[in-house]
Symmetry: C2
Subunit: 196 residues, 2 copies
């Protein structure tokens, strides 16, 4: 019995890039003295690299030194799959799309380059409507620049974990996909009312 099951491993790098571009909020994990440091921040994909920015007071900032190895997780849609979703007899399971990457960090030290990478990031994230444009001479960005550090990560390892009922019959794969869409569209209002 092999692990992970082959039918859940996605080997198409373009599909993994689609996940990264559609769901840019990454979980960045570095390890020091066997303790993980975990930070959530958007990373923008560009030609096998990821570009990001971090609060200089975040303990993770110290670790984002040249050549430091980090792990990165990107998370696509996910949901519980009730056996009632299928036409065949199954056990309960959870479907999800995750991309695991490993990479090496290099600091972006030039202030102008960091500003340009912020401008590029905003341009990417404002797609397709572009209701806002971050200008390179934005005075707030100029004020912020002393409190953040820019970095890029060269991706060295790719692993796509696409758990989407691929081992089931075609009709049940379709049903699981419909459930993923339904669950992810379901209102989050009740939840937010509870906690806000």
């Amino acid at each position: 019995m092999s692990y992970p099951p082959k039918h859940h491993q996605e080997n198409n790098i373009n599909h993994m890039i689609d996940v990264i571009k559609t769901y840019p909020l990454a979980t960045l994990i570095s390890v020091t003295n066997n303790e993980p440091l975990i930070t959530h921040l958007p990373l923008i994909y560009d030609d096998r690299k990821l570009i990001g920015h971090i609060d200089k007071f975040n303990p993770q900032a110290k670790l984002l030194k040249d050549e430091k190895e980090v792990s990165i997780v990107f998370s696509g849609p996910q949901c519980y799959i009730s056996p009632s979703v299928y036409t065949t007899t199954q056990l309960p399971t959870w479907n999800y799309i995750k991309v695991h990457l490993r990479g090496k960090v290099t600091a972006i030290k030039d202030e102008q380059k960091v500003k340009q990478s912020l401008v590029n990031m905003a341009q990417f994230l404002e797609q397709p409507d572009h209701k806002y444009e971050l200008k390179i001479d934005n005075p707030r960005m100029h004020g912020l620049i002393n409190y953040i550090k820019g970095f890029e990560i060269e991706i060295t390892d790719w692993e796509g974990k696409f758990k989407l009922s691929q081992d089931k019959k075609p009709h049940d794969i379709e049903n699981a996909k419909a459930e993923l869409i339904r669950a992810n569209q379901e209102s989050i209002m009740v939840f937010l009312e509870k906690i806000l």
Copy 2:
């Protein structure tokens, strides 16, 4: 300047429990020889403990030994906040809800207890409609039981990271909340068509 900013730290444990119960898919992180092992699986909250099950062939299964320390991340809704969402001048940002936990793992060795924990998990996840009931004598579960390991995690540390524009004016906090709902309800169909 302190890190993390206080207005983004959620200290209400009940709000963190709401996140865990609404978004049970956890990212479980353990570290061995300064390398992180990262696994995604649903965990069910019960009285300051989390209960889960793992494929016995997952390398993480070996590490889930008694008293092993692990980190756990639960992820609520998240989205890019364009400055165009606000009535005031702001820079682009990302809002998200995350719960970081630390805990100690204990294996559930008794087969009957593992089965009961699977029954309880299905019962919890089938709320509120209960379209499916996992019975304790389910023959498929009986077949599965030799291929999974049950465990519980005693939670030792809680950290709520609720980044929800709390430092902005009341009207802009409302706008950011509306954007979080809109972005999370937006169709994922186009994305799934691309990759499936």
